[in-house]
């Protein structure tokens, strides 16, 4: 198959090129290649997007999402690989669940589904999970996402033990005592609404702790969904000091601020919470200067029953995998904050490097994972049109640019816009 006439996002620039795919690899990139394929004239060709932080809910919460619906949502959103957080039921803390998730992903056969193993059994923060056994079944990282490993000694041993298997811990950073039942960012909007606030320090303290552990052990650590300006500062300083820390953020942290909670729309409830303009600006800056390596969605689909209740009782999370690419185009590319090459790196190259995944770049010999989109076309977000089971987005009515036309995984078209 040939992808013809597209604007191809290469590592060092965007060039009009044809791409020839043979089997599941990129075989040739040249000015003009003869043959049949996709006419990508006017479209932009990205390396297949990788979302290293999603919740596909299977096994256990299939009423919220399952690997099939999640996979369909992923390819519609332009993703070719996803990494599933282990907070399923049962928790992915053993080889059997990891095996199940990986094989369910293969059976569905749309997006490459990588399991992430729990750090501790049952994500209870006490005893190490079966890390070696899970690695054998293909987990690509470890995380107790949804909570922090509160005990620093357990976290230290986890990082050390994981290093034997070449796995990195992805740290959800949250000091539960400081969170103390909070549901939104602590600030003007929390006071206005009377919704209990979560101070930045609740996140920052754990970011700092995990940086300290990584530094003293000289091991890598990855910080999940950074939402605070002060967290960006901590990570920036750590990187300058040579600590092996990488970090991610999400569209809702670089695009909007916590004034959106004033509607009491429980779809704005997410953990960590959406914060203030000072944080949003720092996160954009962190993406620009490389402090924040990648963009993930933290795709957290929920059933309407989990959201259509009192704000305090509503589940945390935003269904974001179908809008993430357009958010990047609208809020990072069109604003001039990032170039297309930088966006490709944040959403494909960096996740591949951090986790050692294939793909991540359009180059000869690389996996034929491609995302082909029209960056000039816009649409209005309507969650009823989501293919994810999770319709929980606070962004209904937002006009976004960047429409995915084709998602190619291992040389096969897995999504084509209707």
């Amino acid at each position: 198959m040939i992808i013809k006439n597209g604007n191809v996002v290469l590592r060092d620039g965007v060039k009009k090129q044809d791409i020839r795919i043979e089997g599941n690899v990129i075989a040739e990139i040249a000015d003009h290649i003869e043959g049949e394929g996709i006419d990508a004239a006017g479209l932009t060709v990205f390396p297949g997007l990788i979302d290293m932080h999603v919740h596909f809910r299977e096994p256990g919460y299939e009423y919220k999402e399952d690997i099939e619906s999640g996979s369909r949502a992923a390819v519609k959103g332009g993703f070719t690989q996803v990494c599933c957080m282990p907070n399923t039921s049962p928790v992915c803390d053993n080889a059997a669940v990891a095996y199940f998730i990986r094989h369910r992903g293969e059976d569905v056969g749309l997006v490459k589904v990588h399991p992430i193993g729990a750090i501790t059994k049952g994500e209870n923060g006490e005893q190490l999970a079966d890390i070696g056994g899970m690695k054998k079944q293909g987990v690509v990282a470890l995380s107790d996402d949804g909570k922090s490993v509160a005990n620093s000694k357990v976290m230290r041993f986890a990082m050390e033990y994981a290093s034997n298997f070449g796995l990195t811990c992805l740290c959800h950073c949250e000091d539960k005592e400081l969170v103390d039942g909070g549901v939104v960012n602590e600030g003007y909007s929390s006071t206005l609404t009377g919704l209990k606030g979560i101070p930045r320090a609740a996140e920052d303290i754990m970011i700092a702790r995990d940086i300290c552990l990584a530094q003293s052990l000289d091991l890598p650590v990855h910080i999940c969904h950074v939402s605070t300006y002060s967290g960006v500062q901590l990570i920036r300083a750590a990187k300058q000091n040579g600590v092996k820390v990488t970090a991610e953020t999400c569209p809702h942290y670089y695009a909007v601020t916590d004034s959106i909670i004033e509607s009491f729309d429980s779809n704005t409830k997410v953990n960590p919470p959406i914060r203030e303009e000072i944080d949003r600006l720092a996160i954009v800056e962190g993406l620009k200067d490389g402090t924040l390596d990648c963009i993930v969605t933290d795709h957290a689909p929920h059933h309407v029953n989990d959201k259509n209740v009192e704000y305090n009782m509503a589940a945390f999370g935003i269904s974001g995998i179908e809008t993430s690419f357009s958010f990047a185009i609208t809020y990072l590319y069109r604003t001039g904050a990032l170039t297309l090459c930088e966006i490709a790196d944040k959403m494909s190259g960096a996740p591949a490097r951090i986790l050692g995944l294939e793909g991540g770049e359009i180059a000869v010999g690389k996996a034929a994972d491609l995302t082909i989109a029209n960056l000039e076309e816009s649409y209005v977000v309507d969650s009823e049109k989501f293919v994810s089971k999770g319709k929980n987005t606070p962004f209904n009515g937002y006009e976004l640019y960047g429409v995915v036309k084709y998602t190619v995984v291992d040389g096969k078209i897995k999504y084509r816009e209707a």
Partner: protein, 308 residues
């Protein structure tokens, strides 16, 4: 005319609407003072108090207000466990709708719950206090008391001292008073002052004297014992010594100053007993005004019907 079907908070209530409620309450209070407690305004209507939090004073005040206007009343007390496990709030509301109930007065420990209910029911919803969000009728009765004493809000200096952070009363007062042209000062231990109050128009005082200086109204807010247990100040006696209001401090206030408190009062904590029982204390008057104001609110909300 009130603009909304419901009274959820003063944040989205205009100064004109507040003034209309207050002037309607003047007439209600006249009738009350004549001991006329069988009025026709809500005849044939039903009001339900749906309380997910313990309260005697507010619930009784609403219930009597509805009864004095001729409405039938039903009281539902839901324990907090039923919030966690039982029927959802929306389903409870729809059930009351199906029973042809006209007004729901809700108190709920979670901010925004009355708003969620109001969006999903036909009945008028009156917020009787939700979490740390709003308690509009308490603030309205406070305004009524201030207006009765001073005639106008313009330039009125109101000092609020106590647990600002967890107080829906402080917020509803702030939202309303700033719209009415009054000046609001606040003072509390830093652990009980939430972020952003200044941006909402309050002056956060550095010292008690600064808050009370020249104040026309000195309002204490109840200190819940659980705040001390939660480590936000060391002891009630220390609170009272450094953050409470006593006769000495009242010398900084305006000579015409009144003392208010939404109740129930911890005597000797927020305010000393001598202040509570003094001639310029309006604490008991607030209770009577509360009935008049709630009568006005219930009446005005139901007046909207037929005048779409």
């Amino acid at each position: 005319m009130l603009k909304h079907k419901d009274l959820l908070g003063l944040y989205d209530t205009s100064a004109e609407e507040i003034c209309e409620i207050l002037s309607t309450a003047v007439n209600m209070k006249k009738l009350l003072l004549q001991n006329i407690k069988k009025l026709p305004h809500l005849q044939g209507k039903t009001a339900t108090t749906l309380f997910y939090e313990n309260s005697t004073r507010t619930r009784v005040s609403f219930e009597l207000a509805a009864k004095y206007l001729g409405a039938g009343t039903v009281n539902i007390s839901a324990s907090s466990s039923s919030v966690q496990k039982g029927e959802t709030l929306i389903d409870t509301g729809k059930t009351l709708d199906a029973m042809k109930n006209d007004i729901i007065i809700i108190r709920h420990p979670m901010g925004g719950a009355p708003r969620l209910l109001a969006k999903n029911v036909r009945a008028h919803v009156v917020n009787g206090g939700d979490g740390m969000y709003e308690h509009p009728t308490q603030a309205l009765l406070d305004f009524y008391t201030m207006q009765e004493t001073f005639g106008s809000f313009n330039g009125l200096k109101v000092a609020i001292l106590g647990d600002i952070k967890h107080s829906r009363v402080a917020k509803s007062n702030l939202f309303g008073l700033t719209k009415l042209g009054a000046e609001v000062r606040m003072y509390a231990p830093q652990t009980l002052i939430p972020k952003g109050m200044d941006a909402m128009g309050a002056k956060i005082a550095k010292r008690r004297e600064e808050a009370i200086d020249g104040a026309d109204v000195v309002m204490g807010l109840r200190i819940q014992l659980e705040r001390q247990q939660g480590g936000q100040f060391p002891s009630l006696s220390e609170y009272s010594e450094f953050f409470g209001v006593n006769r000495e401090l009242m010398r900084y206030a305006s000579p015409r100053a009144i003392v208010m408190h939404p109740g129930p009062v911890n005597r000797g904590v927020e305010l000393t007993s001598s202040l509570i029982d003094a001639d310029n204390s309006k604490i008991e008057e607030q209770v009577l005004n509360g009935i008049a104001v709630r009568m006005a609110v219930l009446f005005l909300l139901t007046q909207r019907e037929g005048q779409v």
